[in-house]
Amino acid sequence: MRSSVIVFPGSNCDRDIAIALEKMQFKNQMVWHKETKLPKSDLVVLPGGFSYGDYLRSGAIAGKSLIIDEVVKAANSGCLILGICNGFQILTETGLLKGTLLRNKNLKFINKDVHIKVMNNNTKFSNKYKNNQLLKINIAHNEGNYFTDPKHLDELNKEGLIAFKYCDEKGNINNGTNPNGSLENIAGILNLKKNILGMMPHPERMIDDIISNKDGINLFSSLLN
């Protein structure tokens, strides 16, 4: 499977995701933001970090970069798109995903391992997980507080477009297990065609037992499936 990781100035999880993809046997290429053509890819990843310093608003400037037109085109033709953390923020800025990511409710950057629950395993990104499976996964963000309008929220729920929700180690989903104030504890969402996933947690940080755990591996093996 061919993957492309878009590198924006200020991306800082680009190396981490590239290593994860290569470890999982993807044929990966790094694509510089000033490029105007995307190499043939089955998967495009928008990595975490602080693209363009997150100046103006996180993801805002990246959402207007040269390469992004190509990403939008690829998305519309069905290519798989994965946006992690800042990548998720960029996806909402481009309109590929609806809604927005507000500042965390405690107004502070949060880095810790949290639990998330797999809400729909009938997707290209999650078919190797079980429904309601719990994953322990790292988050690191300042703006991860997902918000959208009631109509879209309704659609997310009805169409099974909520990919992951924050919970505790027992799977309880409530205010107390919501790290950043996200609507309905949402940690990741899909578009209607389910070829685009945006998520705040970092699966690329969870592929190695010495560093953390291997809970992120199945996201990548789902894509290969």
């Binding site: 290593i19 950057f109 880095n111 810790k112 690191a140």
Partner: protein, 726 residues
Amino acid sequence: MKITAQIVEKHGLKLEEYENIKKLLEREPNFLELGIFSAMWNEHCSYKSSRVHLKKLPTKGKQVIQGPGENAGVIDIGDNDAIIFKIESHNHPSYIEPYQGAATGVGGILRDVFTMGARPIALLNSIHFGAPEHPKTKSLLNGVVSGIGGYGNCIGIPTVAGETKFNDTYNENILVNAMAVGHAKKDKIFYSKAKGLNKSVVYVGSKTGRDGIHGASMASAEFDENSEEKKPTVQVGDPFTEKLLMEACLELMKDNSIISIQDMGAAGLTSSSVEMASKGALGIELDLDKVPCREENMTPYEIMLSESQERMLIILEDGKEKNAKKIFDKWDLDFVVIGKTTNTNKLTLKFNNRIEGEIPIDALASNAPLYNRKWVKKKIQKTRIDLKKLKKIKIEDALIKILSSPNHSNKSWITNQYDQNVMCDTVQKSGSDASIIRIHNKDKAIAVSVDSSANYCKAYPLVGGKQIVCENWRNLITVGAKPLAITNCLNFGNPENKEIMGEFAECLEGIKEACEFLNYPVVSGNVSFYNGTNKKNIYPTPVIGGVGLIKKLSKPLNHNFKKNNSTVILIGKTFGHLEQSCFLKENYSINEGMPPEVNLLNEKNNGETLLKLIDKKLILSSHDVSNGGLITALSEMSIGSEYGIKIFKPKKLTNLYEYFFGEDQARYIVEIETNNLGKIEKILKENNTYYENIGLTQKEFFEIEKELKISTNDLFKINNEWYKNY
């Protein structure tokens, strides 16, 4: 402009120093030249009060590739891998403007490390604040923590370890020390020494603005009630640009274009150009019209003294400009040839085709003032505290008091604001004795820790200096690392005061003795004097940052109890030293007496013996005993674990306060499989290492027979309580 005594004083120079400048120049300096002298001759850049003492520190060893004198220290960790690291203070700017002060402290230390060719892999910090109830503390704390996080998170280097302490000695002068650690190939290290004539001097990075002018001079004076007015001297950080600058520099370093490279830190373009020329025994000519400026009509004086961040000076090999420029263009950074190296041994500054200033390099560097300031030995107070006269308290209550105190309470509310996991090589993060970072793509790792003991250093600087090196050494040992070298950040008061200078001299003597004995050399560091406001000096606060090597990385070792019913051993002798202890401070507000003695022989032997046990995979968990003594250390091993411990009552008729809360040095607690006890005892005896069998782990409860019983969950709550109510 005529240079008056008042102008000289405003530049932080003494009149006799000004006379010396005239002698060196054989004429009066002009305003620009005076500014340059003030930037180079201030305490921060010249180390004029400390050089005499710093020379005594051990800086050599088989493991040392580069000691002090470069942008950072370099050590060898085998297989052509080198670790480059340094700690630096940003105390004064952080007190005036906490967010930007702390952020640019992080930015500055990162540049020191990647300038030498290393990719930074870890950030650490040591931050000291006044009393929590002091009206300024809360906002300073929030600002500093956000600033450290804001910079490190954005640039994408994990902030993996640190310490946060409170003491009213820092009420009017907080400390913010930042440390960066990087990894480079041993055969690809870059230095600042200029070489060759007529080589291009290139300016890269951000544009120059009017921020930070005289920052280094500000850091070389005490504060007074008008310190707030110094805000314009604080620099503003831009981690995004630094990320670009870092990537561009590392990209350029892949080929052989660079002769030498130096970041523009304190005293900006002045100190970077002078240092490069001075080390290479060359001259340097700069065309200041070419310097990229952010603001209009900047004068040569402003350009030379600006401390705008995220800038570098590079001397390039002939014919490499075009390729190098391509790289910086790609990253949208300025790249301008602003001058050349010369054989004049002078710093020559041109502006509008006129020479605006010309100073012999030696006058700025090697002829900078050097003071052997008067100092006096600390008068030691040999008071004995009569324990019998103290009000009786329960062991349990005393422990709770310590665990819930601001200094001992859990600091994850701070460390959770730092990205500790980016780069995917953080094996063990904050909250352990030392953090562990894997060397990328290898199965080895480094351990890092940063430590200070201002109370001990205040009470007896000589012993305090020794103790803090030893504690740092122990922290690396407990995670199974062989300690290799340190960097130090020496935070002290006004060096013109002979008692303060005495604290400095004696602390350094202690650091020297310990480093020598432990083969733990100092490879880089920084001195910060004039920490104080209105003649009130801070406690002497040397901060030690240590790096150790774990040759073969397996499951990381930490301090949490791992199993039920395993044996817990205390390595090292307990004497029951309570003076200067947390026990007396937190429970009785007694701050008198001497710090615990440091026996270097025992430190070395106990530590090396424990390393042997760890190498043989005989240790389940280990922890060093420090502030708060044995019982505090044991409770820390239980907090965050499913297992607690049943502690045996000491057999001998000792005072329980002394036994449980004494802060005797050279001690470790280890958890072992009970059926390995015989094997381990044999090794301990063979190595003449004193040990005691002190308890057995058990599920859920932390317990001393007939004395106390608390669940590990409750201990966790007690330890996390303070911040919730702050």
